[in-house]
Symmetry: C2
Subunit: 276 residues, 2 copies
């Protein structure tokens, strides 16, 4: 469990929870258990995803995957443990000062994002899609569940725990939706061209349906750029207070778009007009 | 997920939740989501346990295990889905009439029983114990976590949801502890002699440390008989209202002790003096 969580990756999801919560005045102490739970669920999903039964990856972030180090049985259990402990953590004493009603609502939201309507459903769809010819609708459906749902939940849970009012929650939900989809497209692009590309990730075969594989790289970049612009626009009502959320949206796009091959590319305009 | 849940096994755990809850006046409608969540967690643990990464079983209850029918990837995800949806179910609208504080406490209790201090921890210990010479202390430690914790939680969660007062909860906890350990010893005995024996379970090798393998069959039967008697005694204060809980304890022991070879065996006296 520790190997899957530390040293972790970019911590995008828990940072989103903290940034969204602090935007509405939430305290870091009250937000942290939710941020941790979101990251624990992300970490479990990576451990299980890497297993031979699914992606069969030997490396992640350049180091051996959990089952390569501890064996398949222990990796399976580490994932189960992280998933279970995430729900235990947020139902325990650490969150109770927020009020039990709200905590229960947030636990339900996390469950929906992680379960059959979210992460697990997306993975199952992905597994079945491998044998089919994927189209854009299938890839977007899958992305919305596999990646988008937990990123959106990270944002919404943070905002609700921080005290967002209904209209504010509606606005931040738009941001979460845009960033969630942008994130997966960025990851798909990086799988082809970038830092986490096929060699480094150790993926045994590029059999997955991805955004670039169904619409092409150029269209993928434009879609990512467009989603990032929309995410930034959705933050306009929050003014300078939303600087952290703005920076995260920018970072997500930048990783994939501002590669050497792509710098100064025409038509990718989110950076000039919105990320300020 | 459906394949793992229906048609299920004996439903001991959810029946315990309902019986313990009804003993204290709980309504079946309010108890049922918790009973379902407990059974979903049990079902997930069996699906994962049967995977090649752990026990590598081809059959369960005489029919092919989930990964034999749907493949390893889908079985892994079905387990993840059941575990996640269990926590989602109890944090949703179905339980809210009990009051959010109590529901959150029960969710925490379920998480502890299912996580590293319970089910997952017990499985991990079991996996590591395979390479060692197990003794009684190791087997009891493992059983308490792998099986006992969830059975105890099923009882306690039912009792608390039903409105048990502190002293009542203390008494019913004793019952849950005895039944939990009895249940695993009974299962271990049946693995050797009974209906779910090695041939039917399809287990590829009997490599696990079990109660009979470390203390012998005769001592295991006596311990089961003794635990059952203690479970029944712990129900004395509840009088005839506890008939269902009494019957479950009797059933657990009967399956393992009243096999043809063992009927009328001397020294196994729980049936005459307590199960009435």
């Amino acid at each position: 469990m520790r190997y899957g969580l530390f040293p972790g990756g970019k911590r995008i999801r828990p940072i989103l929870t903290l940034a969204a919560g602090e935007l509405f005045g939430g305290s870091r102490k009250e937000l942290l258990p939710f941020a941790c739970a979101v990251e624990m669920i992300h970490a479990y999903s990576l451990i299980h995803d890497d297993l031979p039964a699914l992606d069969d990856d030997d490396l992640r972030r350049g180091i051996p995957t959990a089952h390569k180090v501890f064996g398949e049985g222990m990796a399976l259990l580490a994932g189960d443990g992280l998933l279970t402990e995430a729900f235990r953590l947020i139902s325990g004493p650490a969150t109770r000062s927020l009020g039990a009603e709200l905590v229960l609502d947030l636990s339900h939201e996390l469950g929906r994002a992680a379960g059959v309507e979210g992460l697990v459903g997306g993975q199952a769809f992905d597994l079945e899609a491998e044998s089919k010819n994927a189209d854009v609708a299938m890839v977007e459906y899958m992305h919305a569940r596999k990646t988008g749902a937990l990123i959106l939940a990270a944002v919404k849970i943070g905002a609700r725990a921080g005290g967002a009012k209904p209209l504010e929650l509606k606005r931040i939900t738009r941001y979460g939706n845009f960033v969630g989809l942008a994130f997966q497209i960025a990851d798909d692009i990086l799988d082809v061209v970038g830092e986490d590309g096929p060699e480094e990730s150790g993926r045994k075969e590029a059999k997955k349906a991805t955004y670039p594989s169904v619409v092409g790289m150029e269209k993928s970049r434009r879609r990512l750029s467009d989603l990032t612009r929309q995410a930034l626009i959705s933050l306009t009502p929050f003014g300078s207070e939303a600087a952290h959320l703005r920076a995260i949206a920018g970072y997500v796009a930048e990783r994939a778009l501002c590669t050497e091959a792509n710098l100064q590319r025409q038509g990718i305009g989110w950076k000039n007009d919105a990320l300020t």
